[in-house]
């Protein structure tokens, strides 16, 4: 049973233990809890968020359709419903400087990193022009140019890898922060906690982003998690946590603004739990018997992140037809990406043996 996405919740700083606190805890937390401000966005910014979320949604709908047509194979994990999370977070970071890493549900993150939808879609169809030359597939995509470090198929692996990216930021003193995204299910993996410990111990600039979409395949959070308030999962490592309504792009953006200030100023890791929801099955082959149709419909009707922002935009006096025009533009982009992904040739057979090692020995 899904709980409705909750408001931001106060985070108590755990009572101090013997070790002297290595850092003053971020202001947002030590002042008695996060009162994450709702981001006050300009109309232009809001329109930008709207367009980005719409792009992800339309892209994913198209990917689902191409899968049904047999143009995409294997697994394909759609991000529909969760658009506000990645949009709110990615618009706040510094693209050239910060790093991003996530799991297999990665198409939305790539679009939010500004990666060309064409080469993402072409990877989904396994074509030579895909971002991994067709060799990676939907779960394994990367763009070092965009600070996007994947795209990982093994649940939980990205959390340690992301901590390592943060280690590199600190080591190189490049001022970067790593956003390590993972699911509610992934949050139970052991390596997550090993990473939490080292991240705090070494004060690494990493934001652990739990995308709590309530389910890991067919297992709801409360069937898998002894502590189901996931923002508290860092407490025994002294990592402060915040819980944010992940269906509200402005709340997400507001929260991360505060968190980023702390992490950038050397405050060490912070954990963000974004309460969100996935509308579609886990992957395309999910029978979805573990939740009712009504539950999904209810979230769609009451908390859809795109509809919510749309309502706010209309309230601000944006015209319905302007939003329609935006939708048309986005559809066109997606259509072009799909055509490109269908028409691009498959990789040359010689590619089978390239990129196994860098050097020849």
């Amino acid at each position: 049973m899904a709980k409705s996405p909750r408001k931001t919740t106060p985070v108590k700083k755990p009572a101090a233990a013997k070790r002297p606190p290595a850092k003053p805890k971020p202001a947002v937390h030590s002042t008695g809890g996060l009162k994450a401000p709702i981001y006050s966005a300009s109309k232009e910014e809001m329109l930008d968020f709207y367009e980005q979320m719409l792009l992800i949604r339309r892209f994913e709908e198209k990917a689902g359709q191409l899968y049904g047509l047999g143009l995409i194979g294997g697994f394909c994990h759609l991000y529909i419903g969760q658009e506000a999370v990645v949009t709110g977070l990615q618009t706040a970071i510094n693209p050239g400087k910060d790093s991003v890493i996530t799991g297999y549900r990665d198409h939305g993150h790539m679009l939010a990193c500004g990666i060309d939808p064409k080469i993402v879609m072409a990877e989904l169809t396994g074509r030579a022009s895909g971002i991994s030359k067709g060799k990676g597939g939907s779960m394994h995509m990367f763009s070092v140019d965009h600070g996007f470090y994947g795209g990982h198929g093994i649940v939980g692996a990205q959390v340690s890898l992301g901590t390592g990216l943060a280690f590199a930021h600190k080591y190189k003193e490049d001022g970067g922060v790593c956003l390590a995204y993972f699911g509610d299910g992934a949050s139970n993996q052991g390596q997550v906690y090993e990473s939490f410990n080292m991240a705090e111990l070494w004060q690494l600039p990493v934001i652990f982003v739990i995308e709590n979409n309530q389910y890991a395949m067919g297992t709801s959070v409360n069937r898998s998690s002894a502590e189901d308030q996931l923002y508290r999962r860092g407490e025994s490592f002294r990592i402060p946590g915040v819980q944010v309504d992940g269906m509200d792009v402005l709340a997400v953006r507001g929260a991360v603004e505060e968190v980023l200030k702390d992490v950038r100023s050397g405050g060490g890791p912070v954990l963000m739990e974004l309460k969100t929801y996935r509308y579609r099955g886990h992957s395309m082959s999910d029978p979805a018997k573990y939740r009712s149709r009504d539950e999904v419909q209810d979230v769609r009707e009451k908390s859809d992140p795109i509809e919510r922002l749309k309502a706010a935009l209309l309230k601000q006096g944006v015209k319905e037809e302007d939003l329609k025009a935006l939708d048309k533009k986005v559809r066109k982009t997606v259509m072009e990406a799909a055509d490109f992904a269908e028409e691009s040739p498959e990789p040359a057979l010689s590619e089978l043996y390239t990129n196994v090692l860098v050097e020849q020995y």
């Binding site: 689902g64 294997g74 697994f75 990982h152 082959s285």
Partner: protein, 460 residues
């Protein structure tokens, strides 16, 4: 503007399905996200959602129709969205493009997915099967489930644990029905914590229980490999035989279909390298059942490697109560005098297919299914070599340090005088498995490559 709605592929391996139910009728208006129909495959029931807005104009495949091929047009819809008209116009185009696609889609399916030729030696001819025993046809998936259920009925220390094994009925539906019969005490859903629950399983086994630990796939058992090797495999030895670890680690292994490098690996050679483990990799349903039962019964830790692409395949199995097979015995699947093809798991089907093709060219191949990778049945392999004097090993996995390499070493050390030609390995290409359909096909072993290798060792 008509939009064709086609039977969707809802899983990597789906080729056809049943159109169980329509939720819309002709004339209904639908919008993106509406549920149009319910589709069933052997694995699951799934809902088919509308992607476009419009009106359903025609329903072409009635509810209740079985064996609807993926890609068949099941309904037509009129798009009504004027504003997005130009953008939407690609739909029929993309649909007609898809029409030209079936061959490509066929190609996507690795050859190993085709139904393999039946083994010429029937189970009924097995000396251990009493004369007159009837044979029934069941899938590998059912055989595995039945083996677990039978052992759980007999022995209440046997329990199953893993991700999605209970309420979801198994990610690949292998544990279907077990929760209903045995309840949540014995059919246990775990969080996604492979290292933890493999260790909990091993500890429970040390404590006197008989766990069956399912890995959703063996790719994820890499998180747990320390507990499998350092804890489960070595305990008996390190304790001087006092402490046992009777546990079965099971799940699908090897390449599936288009799931990419991190989800497509054969761990047979990895586990077979470890003293203290029993490693089983069955091909057909009878072995799946008989050997899984043996694995649950044995006091030793067992790694039981299944194959997703074989789960849905049906085979004949003798109708015998408590059908249990001996661990460590290979099976001659087909007799032949000119050459021996040794294989295991999904490779056996390819070897049989190759043997059929070779017979057409006058080469009679003997096909051996190793069934158990550790301990290896060296006797059966060497006996066959002494008979045919030529050998090819077919393995869906990497070539280096493979089971095939091990068989080659065996022939060098113990069968050298019987060899009329070098033993050849036929395996996957030595690369991480690529996603692209054409590259994946090129990377995976197929029967044509086995045929070519056989001809080579036969100097033909």
């Amino acid at each position: 503007m008509a939009i064709q709605l086609k039977m969707p592929a809802l899983s990597p391996t789906m080729e056809e399905g049943t159109l169980a139910k329509w939720f819309v009728k002709e004339g209904d208006e639908v919008s993106s996200g509406d549920i149009l129909a319910e589709i069933e495959t052997d694995k699951a029931t799934m809902e088919f959602e509308a992607v476009d807005e419009g009106v359903i104009t025609k329903i072409l495949v009635a509810a209740g129709t079985d064996e609807v091929p993926v890609g068949a047009v099941i309904a037509e819809m009129a798009g009504e969205d004027e504003e997005t008209g130009p953008a939407d116009e690609e739909k029929p185009a993309s649909a007609s493009k898809a029409e030209a696609e079936p061959e490509a889609t066929e190609e996507v399916k690795p050859e190993i997915m085709e139904t393999a030729p039946p083994a010429p030696i029937s189970r009924a001819d097995d000396p251990s099967v009493p004369a007159g025993t009837s044979l029934v046809s069941i899938t590998v998936r059912e055989a595995l489930r039945d083996a677990m259920a039978e052992e759980m009925r007999k022995d209440d220390t046997v329990f199953v644990m893993g991700e999605e094994v209970a309420e979801y009925q198994g990610a690949y539906k292998v544990t279907q029905g077990l929760l209903d019969e045995f309840g949540p005490k014995r059919v246990i859903d775990t969080p996604i914590t492979e290292h933890g629950f493999a260790g909990i399983g091993a500890g429970a086994a040390m404590g006197g229980l008989k766990p069956i630990v399912e890995f959703m796939t063996f790719n994820f058992a890499m998180q747990a490999i320390d507990q499998i090797i350092n804890s489960a495999a070595k305990t008996n030895y390190m304790s001087g035989g006092q402490m046992r670890c009777p546990i079965v680690f099971r799940g699908p292994n090897g390449a599936a279909s288009r799931v990419g490098a991190q989800h497509s690996q054969n761990y047979g050679p990895w586990y077979a390298a470890v003293p203290g483990l029993v490693v089983i990799a069955p091909y057909d349903a009878a072995d799946a059942k008989g050997l899984l039962k043996a694995a649950i019964q044995t006091p030793d830790p067992v790694v039981f490697l299944e194959n997703e692409l074989l789960y849905g395949r049906s085979f004949e199995i003798p109708e015998i109560d408590d059908y249990t097979l001996p661990i460590g015995k290979a099976r001659i699947m087909r007799e032949g005098s000119d050459v021996t093809i040794v294989s295991y798991s999904i490779g056996v089907g390819l070897a049989l297919e190759a043997a059929d093709n070779l017979a057409g060219e006058g080469i009679e191949a003997e096909v051996i299914d190793l069934r158990t990778l550790r301990p290896l049945d060296t006797e059966t392999v060497l006996k066959s070599l002494a008979k045919t004097n030529r050998m090819v090993v077919a393995e869906e996995g990497w070539p280096t340090c493979s089971i095939a390499s091990e068989i080659v070493a065996l022939c060098m050390e113990q069968g050298f005088d019987d060899l009329d030609a070098p033993v050849m390995r036929v395996t996957n290409e030595d690369v991480p498995l690529p996603y692209a359909a054409n590259l994946e096909k090129a990377a995976l072993i197929d029967s044509a490559r086995i045929v070519a290798a056989v001809k080579k060792v036969c100097y033909r």
